[in-house]
Structures are given as structure tokens and as C-alpha cells.
């Protein structure tokens, strides 16, 4: 079909089309891409679209639509076709965006300083003091290097005449640059040849500029500067981006609780103690940053942060209070302000905007309602933009009343017919598009990312572009005149500073989450294995079911996989139903699903420290139990999948991860959990008499993941002595008690040495000695039952040791009651 692909793409006469100059005729800078597109058979394009979808799913790229604790993560939506911008056009755009960033920074400096814009009448006080974003505690506070606005984004739209207009400024903590980068990674792999041929400008240098600038601009007092990315946490709508950017930039991803302020200096609580933070790239709204001076009910902030800012001891990117400029009402005042503050003409026009707080503007807006979009003048109003021409009858009257009653709260903005670009939906379909362009402050002025987050209206004919409403995104290709040299941030040459910073900045919270990730990963696998052992023994037709299940259900209850019997009464549900619930019911504590959820929670908090393979396995696990499980067969197959994914996770943990301090906590978590689980499990049969006990050995070996080894070694039905040897004393079996104990001794010793804490000898060494000293010949003697009792005591000790060690790790490493003395030493 190829020739038809472009020909059948509709060209709208009344708007600008990004791709076509005239029907069927691509613009010159699109020509090479359009030609390639036309040459592809439709099936190939379909495959590439699948590739894009798959990559999004595999990388777990999400955008949370609601801040629902249960997580309404929705996959990021990316159209495979890039938006292409020519190099000359971009040069103009880039300098206009840089100028705008410079202007907005100058406005912030004025509003929090001399306020000459207000005394001279260039800006209405209502649009400053009336904004929730204006922060009184920041009045008179001068940020390091005089930069308020480090990171800036502007939403652009193209009018029918081909000119780009600014429609909204993002000045608080602009999101999207990370998604733009993620889009680039996926789309450049989708069309690798076209990507090369079109000389697309790379994005990496922009992110390097952010890294370098924060390091150079931060107040560092001669120390190696440490920058962190401050996130509100995993429930934030753009948390994926925070984790992704933190990993890409090499900044620790921190939440408010990871930071503390002492002597007006911000510190990161790391596993090694406190480390000074020199720059904070924040995605936390200013209101929430310091419960002491800003919103008192904020649990997300850092008490005392405002004091550190006032003292000039930390760089905030962006400075608190910079959100005041995010109002549409400001747009109309910018040209005059630009002349006044910069002595320059504003290079890029804003979309025509009338602030109703001025009487002539109010009159104009009411007269021309049909041609305007009504927006709130105050960003705190949470009002959606309303198209004047869509307002009829009562709703029109009500809107007019509202505007007249509080004119200063409304803005009328010219309704710009957005340009359109093709998206792929089994053919080329036109959609309204816009771009979000990013700029960053550097010591030499603002630098603009040569690329953008392409934003696409969710439906045909729709004019509003909003990610919250499910908009699509696009990669934006800015072409260069000549072939470009590609560098990646990940491969850049490292300096001495990087060596000093690397690895040591693991926040305690990250250590804690890794520890629990280790425990829950192990617990997921163990609970799945136990449940599987039970399910394969359940068969309604077989009268021996009960015999074979003997002790197993009880063990499952003891380890929490099945809920405990209430008041000694048996679970009234049919057995199969109870077992299925123990698999899928996430609200039942201890179920496989609940363990998975806890695993996902812990892993979600350390996302930026995990490799993409880890993410893939975790994403897979999360998706597994979303499918219905109705039959025993389905349950068994789901369990197999869970175990497989858990095994992959374990494989990554042992083979794939850098053995830094964080890793050690992951392993400690795994070992402690396995020691605990194994000890609990093995004790169960030992409580019974000989015959009863022996019936339980088979499921025990299965649940302890040693049945294959046992059969290979002994080729006969399980017996007490070889079983006890294999599961308890055999240091070569990774599923034995002795193995866990030895591994824990090693890891604890290393952790203690690396982090400068005492090795908790009393908690583990006596147990190791008693395991080593146990005389196995006692099982052959007359008083075999006495040996069994001793073994049970030993296992109970092991169980206790696991619990005590877990608490010890918490006490030593995760609770920060750091004293000032200690603090000065590490700082």
C-alpha cells in the first residue's frame, strides 16, 4: 500500500500540518522520514508499533493518573512516529525559550527582591500576592548564584500561520524531560536507520549540563558537591520519571525523610552516616518542603529546610516560591516586562491573553467569549480550561456571572487552532499536537534541550492536550545540519569527584527497602513453593488426600500462608478455595499475592537502584496475579510463574547487581528470611511421632526446595537422618540452615567492617558453633528421639536468631538517632 500511506493522510486547510506542506506533499525536513515510511509494508509498521508498546511495558514506564495508594499506574502512551523539527526553525525556538527562561528568572528575582515590577505598575499585585505560589517566607531570600529558576519548561503550540506560541510556563518543578528521554530511547530504536540519516540532535548533553551546572552552582565550601533528586514518593503521578532521571543523572533519589537539617546544612542519611547535600533537584511542591515554615501538615518535607535555604547553604532547583509564575494571567504582561528587565524584545509571542482584573480586558473577554478559552488566573483554582464557544444557555450565563463577580480570578485566552501531526493507528491519523520544551540554568546562561516532549491530544478533533486526561506523547526529533557525534551520559569519562561520590550515598531508607525487598522476594518464593506442595496433593477423588496433606496445612498456617484457624474452628471453605485464596487474595495477610504486593512496594521505593532486567521481572510478577485463577490447574501454573520470576529475581540479585552496601542489605534480607522460613518449616514434622513424621518428609523436601537433591543423592523414600543432614547441616546445600548461617556470618562481618559497626557476634556465632558441633550419629543411637528434641531446640534458636538479626539490622542501620558529635565527624 505504501504510496497511499501519505496520500490517504488527510490535510486540513485551516490548520498547520507538521508533516505536509500541501496534500500528499511532505515538508522538506520531513521528506526523508516520509519516504521511508512510505516504503515500509503495513505489516512492518504494525510490528514496530508493537515494539514500542512492548518496550513501554517492559521498562515499566508509567504515569499515575490518580494518587491512589493502590496505584492506578497507567502505561505511558507513546506514538511511534516522531515529531520532526528542522534545524533552522529550532535555532530560533531555542534562543526564544532561553530568553524566556532568563526573563522569568529575572521576574522571580524582582518579585522576591525589590518588587520594582509592582511599584512601577508593570505587573498587577493581585497576580503575585493573590497567587498561592507566592511564598512569603521566601521574600528577601537570595538563592545561590542568583538563580531561582534552574529547570524550566514551556508548552508551545503552533498557530495556523506556522508560528510557535507559548501557551503555559512551568516554573516550579517541570516534569517531562525524563519522559522525553525515555521516548527517545524507544523511538530511536524503532526507526534506527531514519534516526541516523536525519542527523537527530542528541539529548544527553542537556542532562550533562544539568549535572555539571548543579555541581558548579551549588554552595560547596570546597567539598565534592552532592546533588539529590527529591521526590514526593511512589504515589506521585510522575514517580517513574523521578526514578528514571535519578538513575540517569546518577543522583540519589530521596524522599523528605531521607534528609535532615543540622546547623542550617542539609544532610542525607546514608548507611554510612550523614553526608552533606549541596543541591536539591526537587519534584516536591514548595508547600510541602518544610513543615516548620510552610505547610505544617506536610509529612513529606524536611523540617528546617527553609533555614538552610535562607542561610544559602543549599541550592534548590528550583528555588522555593518559583511556582508563582505558573499563571496564564502573566502572559500578557511579559512583553513590557522583558523590555524593562532585559532591555530586549520578547522573542516568542505568548498566546494572546486578557486578564479580566483589568476593566478593558474584562469587557473584551465578555464581548468575544466565543473566540476565547477561559482559564483560571490562579493556579490553585483547579479549574479546567473552558472553550467559550462551547458554553450555551445556562452554563454560559453562569460563567459570565462568575467572571463578573471575581474578574481578577479569570483569564481569557485566544483559542489557538493547534497544528496537527500524524499518529499511527493502523494508518496515519491527524491529531492536534504541541511541544513541551525544556531549559536548564548553567553558569553561562540557559541551555535548551534540543528535543521536546511531543504532546498529542487524546482523540481526533480534541483541542486540549493533557497527560492527566490520557494524552499521547511523541519523541521530537530536532535535525542537525551535519551528522552528530553521539555520547551517552552513562559512558562519559569520570573524574575523581565521581569516584569519591559513587556508592557511598545510599540513603538508609534505600537500604531498608532493599532489605525488605530481599525478605519479601524470598518469602514470595517460599510461600509459592509451600502452596504448590499443598495444591498438588489436593484431589477431591483421592481418599488419601488427607494423609498426604498431614501437617502441611498446619505448617502453612504457621508460616502465615494460610490464615490461622479462628478459635480453633476449621476454615469452613472448601480446601481448594482456601488454597486459591492464599494465592490470589492480596487482602489476606501472608498470601502469595500479599507478599507480592509488599515486594512490589519495597521494590517500588528503590526503583532507581535496580537494573531494567529487575524491573522486567518485577513488572511481570505484578501482572501475573491480575489474571483470574479459577481452577487448580490455573493456580498451579500461576504458582510456577511466580516461582520462575522469583528465581530470576534471585539470579539478578546474586549475579547481576553491583555488590555495594545496598546490595548487602538485599542479601541479608534474603538470608534472614530463608533462615526463618526453613527453621519454622523443618520444626513442624519433628514435633510428631515417627510414622506421622515420615509422612511429612516428602512435602517438606518439596517446600524446602531440596527434593531433587535428595532424590539424586539417596534414590529412596525420605528418612530422618539424610533429611536432617541435607536441610539443616549440609553447608553445601543453599537451602539448608547451615548455609544461611554461614552466609549471614560472612555478610554481617563485611557490612560491619564497611559501615563501621560492631559485628553482632553473639547473635549468630553460638548458633553456628552448635550446628557444627551437632553429632549426627546421635540419630543412629537408641535415644534417637532425644536427638530429635535437641534438633528442634536448635531450630527454634535459629528461628529466634533470624528475628533478632532482623531487628539488629534495623537498629544499627535504619534508625537515625545520629548525635551532633557523630555528625561533625562524617561531615
Amino acid at each position: 500500500m505504501p504510496p497511499g500511506l501519505i496520500a490517504s493522510y488527510p490535510h486540513a486547510a485551516d490548520r498547520y500540518d507538521e508533516m505536509l506542506a500541501a496534500p500528499g506533499q511532505p515538508r522538506p525536513h520531513w521528506q526523508p522520514f516520509a519516504e521511508r515510511l512510505a516504503r515500509f509494508p503495513e505489516s512492518i509498521l504494525g510490528h514496530r508499533a508493537d515494539f514500542v508498546r512492548g518496550a513501554i511495558e517492559a521498562d515499566g514506564v508509567t504515569y499515575n493518573v490518580y494518587t491512589d495508594p493502590k496505584g492506578t499506574k497507567r502505561p505511558w502512551e507513546l506514538d511511534m512516529l516522531p515529531l520532526i523539527v528542522g534545524s533552522e526553525e529550532w535555532e530560533e525556538l531555542g534562543s526564544a525559550v532561553a530568553q524566556r527562561a532568563r526573563l522569568l528568572n529575572a521576574i522571580l528575582a524582582d518579585l522576591y527582591g525589590a518588587r520594582s515590577l509592582l511599584t512601577e505598575g508593570l505587573l498587577p499585585p493581585a497576580l503575585v500576592f493573590g497567587q498561592h505560589g507566592y511564598k512569603w517566607p521566601c521574600q528577601g531570600v537570595l538563592p545561590p548564584a542568583g538563580i531561582w529558576l534552574h529547570s524550566y519548561a514551556v508548552d508551545l503550540a503552533r498557530a495556523p500561520d506556522g508560528k510557535w506560541w507559548a501557551i503555559a510556563d512551568r516554573t516550579q518543578g517541570p516534569s517531562g524531560a525524563g519522559y522525553a528521554l525515555q521516548n527517545r530511547i524507544i523511538v530511536s530504536r524503532t526507526f534506527p536507520d531514519a534516526f541516523r540519516e536525519l542527523h537527530v540532535q542528541p539529548l544527553a548533553s542537556f542532562f550533562r549540563a544539568i549535572q555539571d551546572s548543579l555541581a558548579r552552582l551549588a554552595p560547596h565550601d570546597g567539598e565534592a558537591p552532592l546533588a539529590v533528586l527529591l521526590t514526593p514518593g511512589p504515589y506521585n503521578e510522575t514517580y517513574f520519571e523521578h526514578a528514571f532521571l535519578a538513575r540517569y543523572l546518577g543522583f540519589p533519589l530521596v524522599e523528605g525523610q531521607d534528609l535532615t537539617v543540622r546547623d542550617d546544612t542539609v544532610y542525607l542519611k546514608t548507611l554510612r552516616g550523614l553526608r552533606r547535600v549541596h543541591a536539591i533537584l526537587r519534584r516536591l511542591d514548595d508547600d510541602f518542603c518544610d513543615p516548620l515554615e510552610l505547610r505544617a501538615d506536610s509529612a513529606l518535607g524536611i523540617p528546617g529546610l527553609m533555614g538552610a535555604i535562607r542561610a544559602g547553604r543549599v541550592l534548590m532547583a528550583n528555588q522555593l516560591g518559583s511556582g508563582v509564575l505558573e499563571s496564564a494571567a502573566l502572559l500578557g504582561f511579559l512583553p513590557a516586562i522583558c523590555e524593562r528587565l532585559l532591555g530586549e524584545t520578547l522573542l516568542m509571542p505568548s498566546v494572546a491573553t486578557w486578564w479580566c482584573g483589568e476593566e478593558p480586558a474584562l469587557e473584551y473577554v465578555l464581548e468575544h467569549l466565543d473566540d476565547l478559552v477561559i482559564k483560571p488566573a490562579f493556579s490553585s483554582m483547579r479549574m479546567e480550561a473552558v472553550f467559550g464557544h462551547e458554553l450555551k444557555g445556562d452554563s454560559r450565563r453562569r460563567m459570565i456571572e462568575r467572571i463578573v463577580a471575581q474578574p481578577h480570578a479569570y483569564v481569557g485566552q485566544e483559542w489557538v487552532r493547534l497544528s496537527q501531526a500524524p499518529v499511527w493507528n493502523r494508518k496515519l491519523m491527524p491529531r492536534s499536537v504541541g511541544m513541551r520544551v525544556f531549559a536548564a540554568a548553567t553558569p553561562d546562561g540557559y541551555t535548551v534541550m534540543p528535543g521536546a516532549l511531543g504532546r498529542v491530544a487524546p482523540r481526533a478533533g480534541m483541542e486540549v492536550i493533557s497527560m492527566q486526561r490520557g494524552g499521547l506523547s511523541k519523541d521530537t526529533w530536532v535535525r542537525a545540519e551535519a551528522p552528530v557525534v553521539r555520547t551517552s551520559l552513562l559512558k562519559r569519562r569520570l573524574g575523581v569527584i565521581d569516584l569519591v561520590c559513587g556508592g557511598a550515598d545510599i540513603p538508609s531508607r534505600v537500604g531498608e527497602n532493599l532489605f525488605w525487598m530481599g525478605r519479601y522476594a524470598e518469602r514470595c518464593e517460599a510461600s509459592a513453593r509451600l502452596l504448590r506442595a499443598a495444591l498438588v496433593r489436593v484431589s477431591s477423588s483421592d481418599p488419601e488426600t488427607e494423609l498426604r496433606l498431614s501437617g502441611l496445612l498446619d505448617a502453612a498456617r504457621r508460616s502465615g500462608v494460610l490464615p490461622p484457624d479462628e478459635d480453633g474452628k476449621e476454615d469452613p471453605r472448601p480446601l481448594e478455595e482456601a488454597l486459591t485464596a492464599a494465592l490470589v487474595d492480596a487482602d489476606q495477610p501472608g498470601s502469595v499475592a500479599a507478599n507480592l504486593r509488599a515486594l512490589a512496594y519495597a521494590a517500588g521505593h528503590v526503583k532507581e537502584r535496580l537494573s531494567s532486567d529487575n524491573w522486567h521481572a518485577l513488572n511481570h510478577l505484578e501482572q501475573l496475579l491480575s489474571r483470574p485463577v479459577a481452577t487448580v490447574d490455573q493456580a498451579l501454573s500461576a504458582l510456577d510463574q511466580v516461582m520462575l520470576s522469583c528465581i530470576s529475581l534471585a539470579g539478578f540479585a546474586f549475579d547481576d547487581m553491583t555488590r555495594d552496601e545496598g546490595w548487602r542489605f538485599l542479601i541479608l534480607g534474603r538470608r534472614i528470611e530463608r533462615l526463618y522460613g526453613l527453621s519454622t518449616l523443618i520444626m513442624r514434622p519433628l514435633a510428631e511421632g515417627v510414622r506421622e513424621r515420615e509422612r511429612m518428609f516428602e512435602w517438606l523436601l518439596e517446600a524446602a526446595n531440596s527434593i531433587v537433591t535428595y532424590r539424586a543423592r539417596y534414590r529412596r523414600v525420605p528418612e530422618l537422618l539424610p533429611l536432617a543432614h541435607l536441610l539443616v547441616f549440609d553447608g553445601s546445600n543453599p537451602h539448608s540452615v547451615a548455609f544461611q548461617v554461614e552466609a549471614l556470618q560472612n555478610e554481617l562481618a563485611r557490612t560491619a567492617r564497611d559501615l563501621g559497626h560492631p559485628y553482632p557476634s553473639l547473635m549468630i556465632d553460638p548458633l553456628a558453633r552448635r550446628l557444627a558441633d551437632f553429632d549426627l550419629t546421635r540419630f543412629e543411637a537408641e535415644d534417637c528421639e532425644l536427638a530429635v528434641r535437641t534438633l528442634r531446640t536448635l531450630l527454634a534458636e535459629a528461628e529466634d536468631a533470624a528475628g533478632n538479626l532482623s531487628e539488629e539490622v534495623h537498629r544499627r542501620f535504619f534508625i537515625h538517632t545520629v548525635r551532633p558529635m557523630h555528625l561533625r565527624r562524617v561531615a
Binding site: 505598575g121 521574600q139 528546617g304 482584573g357 548525635r819
Partner: protein, 320 residues
Amino acid sequence: MNQAVPAIVRYHIRHDTRYRYDQPVGESRQLLRLTPRELPWQHTCAHRLDIAPEPARRQAFVDGLGNLVETLHFERDHDALFIRAESWVELRQRDLPALADSPPWETVREMLEYRAGRGFDEARLEACGYLFESRHVRVKREFADYAAADFAAGAPLLVGVNRLMRRIFDEFTFDPEATDVSTPVTEVFEHRRGVCQDFAHFMLSCLRSLGLPARYVSGYLLTRPPPGKARLIGADATHAWVAVYCPGHGWVDFDPTNALMPDLEHITIGWGHDFADVSPLRGVILGGGEHEPEIAVTVVPEDEFHTLYGSAELPGLQPA
């Protein structure tokens, strides 16, 4: 007040705050706004803080509104916190404007409205900062409607404000049980009950809803012991009232809780958009399990100072 009131008075103020915690507090930060501001009619002769336990760090700064803030940082376990602020303050009789002598209220509103290219001098610009909603103050038509009765067309600003203050005093009931710090001003309006802070927030809401600049003033009030009774230590409380910007006069105070214009018996600590800006004590603690603090305020005129405290329990701060 009658003519017998002297032109200058001196007060001693003692403001005690005590927290007792259920569990030890490991770390605590407190912001204190307890130092009376310097004003044309007010001078703080002496001021000191006694703090137990001793904070690891103590600093002071002037906030964006010009109030002096002291910051305390505690880094060691403690299960109680005691802060005593003491001040000697001197008040002069204020130059209170004649109410009828103020510009029509609509003129004031119009003066602060933006017109293309219209600038503002510093005083008016400062006033503009107090025209809008804040944490505890709402701008709503229902507040404007309530106040409309007191602001006839062309009425002098201060006449209107005075009438509004008196009506709030008449129509609202002082009732400490009716509200707490977080009660929204709309609820205060609905039930017409509350304490000084609520009355101030309500009056601010009315004035700002009319487009008039008004701010929240935090301070102390001299109280009178019941007839025949002696003045008691700790019987007073912190107080709050409002100030309105009146071109030509500057900021003029009104106390809706007592239906009077503050003069020689109101000691100003500072001001803000509402309570949240000038809360005398504001803190964040780690650990604990916080109780409501016990607060005891004593305002005493200089000539009663020795009668009240005697020589046995002499406050640490002597008259300057």
C-alpha cells in the same frame, strides 16, 4: 478611656509554654514569634528567653513580613520543653484618627486596584499584600454580603470598619469550646461563636471580601481582675485583633473581641496574613506524642509588678 490615662505606660509580660511528652522527643525544632515589634508607639525595653532543656542551637531572623523570629533546635532526647519569654514593653498613646476623617471605603478599594501602568508606592504595595485569601482567611461573596450593611455608599472607611467590628462583637459569642485552631472561618460565620483568633479571621474575611486590605495582629492584652480580686499570675492569654490600611493614616487597629480600638492596653508582637504567619510558637518534633501545651501569660503594669511577684518570686527580667 478617660483623661486620667497616662501618655506612657510600661508593662511586664511573662509568657510561659510547657510541653510534656508521653515519650521522649529525639529531635525538635521550634519557631518563636514572642518578641514585641518596634512601633512608633511601642518600644521593647528588654526581652529574654529561658529555655529548658538548653537547645543545641538558637538563632534569630526577621521573616518576610518584618517579624522577629527565634529558632530553637533540640537534638537530644527530652520529655518536656519549657519556654519562658519575658519582655518589658513601653507604650505611648497612639495618634488615633478621627473615624469620619478617613476616605470613602470605595476610594480605598479603587486606589489599590490595578490599572494598566499604575504603580504603587511602598506603603500601598504592602497593603496590596493583604487583600487576598490566606490559609485561614477566605474571600467570598457571603462575607462581603454580611459586611455590606456597615459600608454604606460613600461611607468613610474607618466608620465602616468600626461598625463592622461592633456588629461582630454584638452578634458573635465568645466561646472557647466552639472552635479550635483548625476551625474554618466559614464555620465560625455559621455558628457565630469562637475566640479572638476566630473573630479576627472572620473580620479579615469580611474586609478582604470587600476589597479592603486588612491584616492579623498577634499580641497581648492587659486584662482586669474581677472587682475586688487580686491580679493572678498566668491568668491572661495571647490575643489577636486586626489592622486596616487607611491611606493617609497607615494601619489602624480594631479589636472585634472587645469592640474597641487598641491603644494603651494592647501590646503588639507582630502581624501577618492570618494566624499561620504569626503563631507565637510553631514546631516540629520527632517522636513524642504531643499534648496540648500548657500556656500561661501574665501582663502586668509596672506599678503592680512588685505587688504581683513580690520579692520571693521575682522574674528574671528587671525593669530597664
